[in-house]
Symmetry: C2
Subunit: 160 residues, 2 copies
DNA sequence: TATTGTTATACTCTATAACTATA
DNA sequence: TATAGTTATAGAGTATAACAATA
């Protein structure tokens, strides 16, 4: 008997949404959205990318990404340059500011992953669905530190 | 050394996005979006839900869901009734039309899951990240049938 | 007063297509 | 002609807050 809540797409989506939600809230104080983080982390791993490649790597649709890169350029996080030898493509890179920002954020991402994975690393992955359900639960332990980060953000906002 | 492309959130998101994209295209001919499918499948599993519960079950934010339910009610897929004994809550149910539609779609969802899982069921899940990468690849085998479904949809659209 | 749900606003995302520039 | 990217548009998503009705 089919059950949505025991199907793989459902469990994947649920963990993905929850994780994205929590991580977004955690980094909001840095004035960065999750898609922006993905772009910066992708460029940190592999710089000098064309728009199409970056879209594939980040799972962000190309026209969305084109505008996002525009926003990020205005924020001074990335550069976008037309190539001389092939002027219909474009090279996207992290700026120094973007690089130092993403290097602040990566430890947070690593911490998230550690917490998410903690519950099952010791006992091994025996069943994908069970594991996803466990990850979902263990993400809850991140709530307190996220709440604190949000409180700090609000405090600094009031000051501004 | 941190690599975005080897991080759990990245792999989860990539598989989730890809799967959602493919499934959306597959069911587009039924005039149903993925969030609508999620709502119907959730109600099929557990009927007579309140809005808040349904939001939790589907990972859809409540105000979004409130409007989505409005759309689905107009399409005749669900009913929404204020309770007499607690008139600030609402009970959402599948209509006969919604039920028969979701029962057409569930086999498609099951097929998706079968294909996604095929690669690793025989050898067992030993590593979550590897498994997610494998699922991503095996989803590609769904492309031909989806393309065919899309072609059919376009053909029937031209007729209309 | 707290809870449940609806509505409004601003902003972002997707899908799609039109368009520009280049190969 | 095909490709890479940008821009425009429509529809739908999120976050947030204001709001109404009810407990």
């Amino acid at each position: 008997m089919y059950q949505l809540t025991n199907s793989l797409p459902y469990l994947l989506n649920r963990v993905g949404v929850r994780m994205g939600e929590l991580f977004s809230r955690r980094i909001a104080g840095y004035d960065v959205t999750l898609p922006m983080y993905r772009v910066m982390a992708a460029l940190w791993e592999q710089g000098d990318q064309r728009l199409g490649d970056l879209a594939g790597m980040t799972s962000i649709e190309m026209s969305t990404l084109s505008r996002l890169i525009g926003t990020m350029k205005r924020k001074g996080l990335v550069s976008r340059t037309r190539l001389k030898d092939n002027a219909r493509t474009v090279a996207i890179n992290l700026t120094a500011k973007g690089k130092s920002l993403v290097e602040e954020l990566i430890p947070i991402a690593v911490h998230f992953e550690t917490v998410a994975v903690r519950e099952f690393t010791t006992k091994g992955v025996t069943d994908l669905k069970t594991t996803l359900a466990e990850i979902y639960v263990s993400l809850g332990t991140l709530e307190p530190e996220i709440a604190e980060a949000e409180a700090q953000r609000r405090a600094s906002k009031r000051q501004a």
